[in-house]
Point group: C2
Chain length 244, copies 2
Amino acid sequence: MAAPRGDGLKYERVLNALRSRIADGTYPPGMMLPSQSQLVAEFDVSRPTVIEALRLLRQEGLIESQTGRGSFVRGKVPALNLERAYPGQRLLDLAESESSAELLQAGIIVAPVRVTTLLELPAGSKAFLRQYVLSDEDGPIELVSAWFPIDLVTGTKLTSPEPMDEGIRRHLYGRKRLRLDYAMERTLARSATAEEAHALKMPAGAPVLNLVVTGHDADGKALQLVDAVLPGDRHELRDAYPLT
Amino acid sequence: MAAPRGDGLKYERVLNALRSRIADGTYPPGMMLPSQSQLVAEFDVSRPTVIEALRLLRQEGLIESQTGRGSFVRGKVPALNLERAYPGQRLLDLAESESSAELLQAGIIVAPVRVTTLLELPAGSKAFLRQYVLSDEDGPIELVSAWFPIDLVTGTKLTSPEPMDEGIRRHLYGRKRLRLDYAMERTLARSATAEEAHALKMPAGAPVLNLVVTGHDADGKALQLVDAVLPGDRHELRDAYPLT
DNA sequence: TCGCCCAACCTGTCATGTCAAGTTGGATTG
DNA sequence: CAATCCAACTTGACATGACAGGTTGGGCGA
């Protein structure tokens, strides 16, 4: 069921109302929430609907519940601005036509050792490369190389020199019923190669962030590799998480 | 309702059976689970009971479900290669005496702009710095600078030139009842400064990964900043996560 | 005044049933 | 061969109802 955002679903309406009351101090820490029966009456919904809203509040750490006793607001409200970063997923999902991508090349060439290793291809073998530059108003900001085993791209639009109008991941699913399950990222700092420096209009040897991401299916097989080169002076990766 | 352990509740019986089948390979990664209707028939329970068991499997990351499509076993879970990285937490928790740390300096000095900005101190003000180098058998691998507002370290062992025998976070809680709630990380690539190059025994200007981490309390206040400089040719940050 | 009992409340679990919306694959048509 | 349609499947959401077990506080008796 495709739900509208926010309050589309009844349990979300209850959830958001309770969240707001906790956040604004209407329900201060330690206070018992209205009982499930009271919430049923107040929101004119069924008890399982209220139970689902309360379960999500517990999951968010905002309240705690105890059979026979009630639900209570917890002492500390987690910082709402915590957001983990998924730069690899962003690369795997990039839709070229929705970005500033300028395609540099698309074709089958002998892949570097790192690519064949990570894609579990024989050393020295060829792979399919789709390479482009992303830019902003100040110039090139990212050089992206997407690598695939050759058999994976036959019958897809990836072989075309036209910009992709949808994300690669979505395209691979639509044409080949291939599903990526997880991503593995590797981040390192090194000097730009001459070719990279040229493509990114930066001094040769300048430091770059290099993100190498592999997209894997549920069996662990690497289906796709994306290599992003980011000028060091124009990029900073951000991440945030609760401490345990 | 106080439930017996394990299989006392009906949804737990379903949950544990499905967990076992996933763990022993009966349901390998990528395989679609029996539908909810099929599980209802197999376990002779109601559909909401099956739904609860599946919800818990999703919460554990073992399966993924999609309306209209089915529930599927996820790739290699739990696996070491599917583990999110917390390099900032590692830095905030570093116990010097349990690592290869060689303390370079500990004292109050005028802090760089970036430090005062992130610690919300007046520009040009002093802060407490504790700086050391980590090494392996091949030489220095990491230069770590831990910065604190001065009032935060008074009355702690941080002011001592002796190695800390416990993590800084634990120490701050023990002495000052200060609790770090979350971390924010910033990762960038740049060239090593002359000082850093010297401390890390690397060529001046060589590329480095620079991790800047702030530890915040529950109110969002930055209590501590750790700046780690990692030679680019000796470090690669790893991360992995399910794709959504 | 204290201890016990019990009613009244609470949350958790489970069932049956219905409706909504998404996905898939086969059939059909152009 | 590609596009469209639709039946049959799937999961998600919501309702009503019932029962189990925990907690609490008031009333009563010793």
